[in-house]
């Protein structure tokens, strides 16, 4: 009996304790069944590979020639080539994807900067020095995100057309800012809430000014979270299709819009499609893996740590 930790029985549900008092010792051997873990590991790896196959296949096919890409059964060991990438960048067609990639980068980066500029003070007023009824404000922010884009897109389109902002990257930037702002406020609040209160109080008693508090106390704790927020906002803007498709055209079209117009079914194009998908997904893959540690907390709006 002395080997048992004293608090173990307390935390056990009462039912099983009463029934199985005798089998405690034997039960303990079940605690680290390494064989079970091997089985779980193999299963997890098989499933992980299954989920990764489309991505791996996309990458592999992008390095195949068009004829090797379109075979049945698939030619896995075909020669590798950069032809598809050359084609995607417009070697024969002369249609370069660069303007759309630059538009995407402009829209995503600038909207993310705007989001951060608006969301950081807001998150500050919701966590560090909270306003009264700050939870109500939080839920107002969230409720705007619950409104589907389609419910507001027509007035936005009509407004843009009326003021001549159609096919203008700045209008898209404003749209992306409003799309990501609620999420960013929620994410940032959750990261700012992690700043220990005692440190803030101590700094205030010492008479530190706001700038110093921001730099020395808030930034070190919240910086990784703010960076993750920025990366997630960047991803959402980069991925967006509906608004870009409706509000932009030839001049301000983003990469996803370019991608939808890219497939026109002229002969063999499979390797090209894969190359295009790889190029356009690369920034998101980088941003996503960079934010990996904080991805869950950010995407669940701070509800999950």
């Amino acid at each position: 009996m002395s080997t048992l930790t004293p608090d173990a029985p307390q935390s056990t549900p009462p039912g099983p304790t009463a029934l199985n008092t005798g089998s405690r010792k034997r039960g303990k051997s079940r605690m680290d069944p390494t064989r079970n873990n091997t089985a779980a590991g193999i299963a997890a790896w098989l499933l992980a590979l299954l989920f990764a196959v489309p991505v791996l296949w996309m990458v592999l096919t992008s390095f195949h020639s068009e004829t090797d890409a379109a075979t049945n059964p698939p030619s896995i060991a075909a020669n590798l080539t950069l032809d598809a990438y050359r084609e995607f960048f417009g070697e024969t067609s002369g249609v370069s994807p660069w303007p759309s990639l630059i538009n995407s980068a402009t829209a995503s980066i600038l909207s993310t900067v705007l989001v951060l500029l608006l969301a950081f003070p807001a998150a500050y007023a919701l966590s560090i020095r909270p306003v009264k009824k700050w939870t109500d404000v939080m839920f107002f922010f969230l409720s705007t995100k619950m409104m589907p884009v389609v419910a507001a897109i027509l007035p936005l389109y009509l407004f843009a057309r009326a003021v001549g902002a159609l096919d203008n990257i700045w209008f898209l930037i404003l749209m992306y800012t409003s799309m990501n702002l609620p999420i960013a406020v929620w994410m940032m609040r959750s990261f700012l809430a992690e700043v220990p209160e005692e440190m803030l109080e101590a700094a205030q008693i010492d008479g530190a000014n706001l700038l110093l508090i921001l730099r020395k106390i808030i930034a070190p704790v919240a910086m990784p979270g703010i960076a993750a927020t920025a990366l997630i906002c960047f991803i959402f803007s980069w991925n967006e299709l509906l608004l870009a498709r409706v509000l932009t055209g030839v001049v301000a079209g983003t990469a996803p819009v370019f991608l939808t117009g890219f497939v026109s079914g002229q002969g063999l194009f499979l390797a090209q499609v894969c190359a295009a998908a790889v190029v356009i997904s690369l920034p998101v893959l980088f941003a996503g893996f960079a934010a990996q540690d904080k991805l869950v907390q950010g995407l669940s709006l701070g509800a999950v740590k």
Binding site: P13, G27, A44, A122, A151, A152, L154, S281, V304
Partner: protein
């Protein structure tokens, strides 16, 4: 009773009177606290709430931009059309089917994956990274890959693998699938489940790892079976994470446009409401009707969102109480 309350309230009353300065200073302080919040709030109201009010107004109008002279107040006519027009009714049904099936299937697979990844094994970090990858492919690109590289009936990978496996076991011609034209809804669901399972897995894995391990260990010591532990300890603990993942997923999947647009272009009964609305105003120029359909989506989302908000709120409160 009245005298007692009067006596209690009097000191406070008299104390507040001479300090009008203090009161206005307090008010100034409250505004100083609110100030950082205002830019974000004003911006959001202008860009999201105002357009929705306009949508609401247009939804009661008969407005086709191709025949502007017929623009007039239409009452509930557009709403009647949304709910009776077979195409739009089909779109409502498709939206519900798509959202529910994608959320449920990806939650179940995500739960399985999270339970596996919760155990220690060789290369766990790499396996987790591989599993996140589908979520980090641009949705349009993912839909294109599914359409052309995986599901294409003549040279897609799925049929390619079928041919290859069948050729290993004899010469009988391999069965070939053509989901895109025979079961387009399944193709859309399949590609979305593939993209959303990693999200569910991440949320559930975080939930599993926040599970108080002492109760699990105690139950193990008491000889509880793995299934018993899962059923009575893990699942109740995961409940709110399942709800959270499901509802956040639902909010995004209800709005899905990319997969439907790219994979099937809304053909063969796969047009969901966002796609149908896009068609209605972008190509058919039926502004009033599109707005009414938009309002219907909002009402549906509000119903889902009330539950979502409650779940987020319960987790949120727990965190605030900590």
């Amino acid at each position: 009773m009245t005298t007692a309350t009067a006596r209690i309230s009097r000191p406070g009353h008299t104390a507040a009177k001479p300090s009008r300065d203090a009161k206005s200073r307090e008010r100034a302080l409250a505004w100083a606290r609110r100030a950082p919040l205002l830019p974000a709030l004003v911006f959001l109201i202008l860009v999201t709430q105002l357009p929705f009010v306009v949508t609401l107004i247009i939804s009661f109008m008969n407005w086709n931009s191709l025949s502007p002279d017929k623009t007039a107040f239409a009452g509930l006519e557009n709403y009647v059309t949304v709910l009776t027009d077979p195409d739009l009714r089909q779109a409502i049904f498709t939206t519900i089917l798509l959202t529910v099936s994608v959320v449920l299937i990806s939650l179940i697979i995500g739960l399985g994956l999270a339970l596996l990844l919760d155990k220690k094994f060789i290369g766990r970090g790499l396996a987790r990274t591989l599993l996140i990858a589908p979520f980090l492919v641009v949705p349009v690109a993912a839909a294109l890959i599914w359409k052309h590289a995986l599901l294409n009936p003549t040279y897609g990978l799925i049929n390619g693998v079928l041919t290859w496996v069948w050729s290993l076991f004899g010469s009988a011609p391999a069965p070939q699938l053509d989901l895109l034209s025979q079961a387009p809804m399944m193709a859309v669901i399949l590609s979305l489940v593939w993209q959303w399972t990693p999200f569910m897995m991440l949320v559930l894995l975080a939930g599993l790892q926040s599970r108080p391990m002492d109760t699990v260990e105690a139950a193990q010591m008491d000889g509880a079976t793995p299934w018993g532990i899962f059923r009575h300890l893990t699942l109740p603990h995961l409940r709110q994470y399942l709800e959270l993942g499901g509802l956040l997923g639902a909010i995004y999947i209800v709005q899905n446009f990319d997969a439907v647009f790219t994979l099937t272009a809304g053909g063969l009964g796969t047009a969901n409401l966002p796609y149908a609305i896009y068609q209605t105003f972008y190509f058919a120029n039926e502004y009033g009707l599109a707005s009414a359909a938009g309002v219907v989506v909002v009402i549906g989302t509000i119903i889902v969102a009330t539950f979502a908000l409650r779940t987020v709120f319960s987790l949120f409160k727990k965190e605030a109480a900590r």
